[in-house]
Symmetry: C2
Subunit: 203 residues, 2 copies
DNA sequence: CCTGTTCTGTACCGAGGGGTACGCTCGTGG
DNA sequence: CCACGAGCGTACCCCTCGGTACAGAACAGG
């Protein structure tokens, strides 16, 4: 089983799927799921609709693959942040990562997971649900990180990990909205400064 | 001048524009600008497309009127909050208002000004721009409220009103996203508790 | 060369989008 | 009671949507 056939049969693919996914990600990022038509997507990807369907399935599955790529790429700061030695450092890394990703050059203001499909209407229910799950998993992972911090004495014993995680994630959700409003990296970093000033101390 | 002609000529309107706007607001709220088709809207309003165009202009103008109604109604907590005696009370009232409006009964989770049209694509540029302006005005008004608080000694002299306003508004933007993720009123209020614990004190 | 297999390009599908033309209905004023 | 003027309903406009059928093009193996 699973013996990968090294010999490829049939006509070889005429484009790089990774590059195509990258371009699709940018379109979804800028315009959201509903706002991105297949014409927009395939135009940016440099392929035809037929090739896109053969390679990725359909628009919804393309979006899921883009979301996975987003998690591994632009949103990779999240995993890195959780590995910081202290809860405080994790929070700061998370928020500064959100700032950086929300203010990449080239009119990508905001965050794919926020503006991808916030409202739930008929056409985008799958994309919407996928993003809800994505965001909720992030909250939960941060909560577990804080729980460990409480156990290890890194956070005060009376700190509520779940509440704290939701608080931090509320900021992580709000920062991309500020970015969509036009705020730049320096201004958003000031918000993070403000957050860190009031971060709960151990003693 | 402007003696309003009390005598109305022509066939009278067969529906209540206020009621129709209210219903349109709910549709836009749930489904966003792009996700709300004219069929959805007029269906909920109980009128035909023709009546809607005659009464409100077109979809974009309808959205603007809905946005105005939203500001006067569900988002009215914002004006009330700014009139609170202290910056602290204003912040708490603002955030608790955001929580309440984001968790109204009947699957209206979230905030019209956030999920109405976050990404900017071809079709919804006007709605998107209107919401950007709406949100930025809110930030600015809160900043001015905080500036007054610093002048009057209500906030510490070293507090940065603009930074503080952006910080609070980041939370006000993030809370509706949490609501869209499924969090309830009690859970969101806990986030506000967390914010208020660390609010800067005068001395 | 031919066969098998996969990708590509064109041309097309039904459905639904926002928006409108036009005749009908309902009220007022003469 | 009749003309007027505005709201209403139907039926339709063109366009774009996501998705597909089908024939041709490019590779491997024989």
């Amino acid at each position: 089983m699973g013996g990968s056939r090294s010999t490829v049969i049939g006509r070889p693919r005429g484009f790089d799927t990774d590059e195509a996914l990258e371009r699709a990600m940018r379109v979804f990022w800028e315009q959201g799921y509903e706002g991105s038509s297949l014409t927009d997507l395939t135009g940016a990807m440099g392929i035809t609709k037929t090739s896109m369907y053969a390679a990725f399935g359909n628009k919804e599955q393309l979006f899921r693959k883009v979301l996975q790529r987003y998690a591994d790429g632009p949103a990779g700061y999240f995993d890195d942040a959780l590995e910081q030695p202290t809860a405080r450092a994790a929070t700061e890394a998370l928020l500064r990562g959100a700032v950086r990703t929300s203010t990449l050059p080239g009119k990508f203001a905001g965050c794919l997971t926020i503006q991808g499909a916030l409202p739930a209407c008929d056409g985008n229910r799958p994309a919407h649900d996928a993003l809800v799950q994505f965001r909720n998993e992030a909250v939960e992972r941060l909560e577990q990180r804080f729980r460990r911090a409480v156990d290890s004495g890194d956070l005060p014993g009376d700190a509520a990990p779940r509440r704290l995680a939701r608080y931090v994630m509320a900021l992580a959700f709000g920062i991309p909205v500020h970015a969509a409003n036009g705020l730049g990296r320096a201004e958003l970093d000031e918000i993070v400064d403000q957050v860190m000033i009031s971060w709960p101390r151990v003693s």
